[in-house]
């Protein structure tokens, strides 16, 4: 229940990705409605897929509870997974958008 092993790095990953956009890349991704609509869709599907991967009755991914907040929602998904997923997908979209910015006349 220390939260150090997963909760802390997951929170830091979100901060790092936001800092990457706001401080370095400045793609404008966060101002695009397409981004927020896409993230809502991604999170919806994450609940299905991640819910399957983490279900406590037969988990594919098993977490040491000492390293998480212990909060699992919805289903048995550790809430840290949503920070992890947000950071992962946002980082990829930022690099994708950077190419658009780079090629813009």
């Amino acid at each position: 229940m220390s939260g150090l092993g997963y909760t802390l790095p997951a929170a830091l990953a979100v901060v790092a990705v936001c800092a990457l956009e706001l401080g370095v890349l400045r793609t404008g991704l966060f101002r695009r409605p397409a981004y927020w609509i896409s993230m809502a869709i991604v999170i919806g599907f994450q609940i299905l897929v991640d819910g399957w991967l983490t279900k406590l009755s037969a988990p594919i991914v098993i977490y040491d509870n000492r390293h998480t907040s212990g909060i699992r929602f919805p289903f048995d998904i550790p809430i840290e997974d949503f920070l992890f997923g947000f950071a992962l997908v946002t980082a990829v979209l930022l690099l994708w958008e950077r190419r658009r910015v780079a090629t813009r006349p």
């Binding site: 092993g5 997963y6 790095p9 990953a13 695009r32 409605p33 397409a34 981004y35 609509i37 896409s38 869709i41 991604v42 599907f45 897929v49 399957w52 991967l53 037969a58 988990p59 594919i60 991914v61 098993i62 977490y63 040491d64 390293h67 997923g85 992962l88 997908v89 980082a91 990829v92 979209l93 690099l95 994708w96 190419r99």
Partner: protein
Amino acid sequence: MDRWQYLIVLGGCLLTTAPLELFGSGVYRQPRRAAAAVLPVAAVFLIWDAVAVGAHVWWYAPRFILGVIAPGGLPLEELLFFLVIPLCGLLTYSAVDSLLRPLRRRFAEVKHR
């Protein structure tokens, strides 16, 4: 059959998102741009993943994976996870973006009027 479970989940993600390629300029049709977006992020997250598995923060049920373990101690499925999920995200974003394009044009016209 159980050992294929993680791989089947990932395959399901690819199949479900594949039709999104039809919208706009797609993702698979821009392989260099997709690779430049996915691979650097995958590298960072794979290091995080390997450290977490090494420190027993999380691990994978042997029952549901093929048992092919890559250098760094990560199962093959986990390597694929960091290609598949970003591709699904890109396909979603690319499709939503292309669907919003007419709206965006309309909005720009109204603003210029």
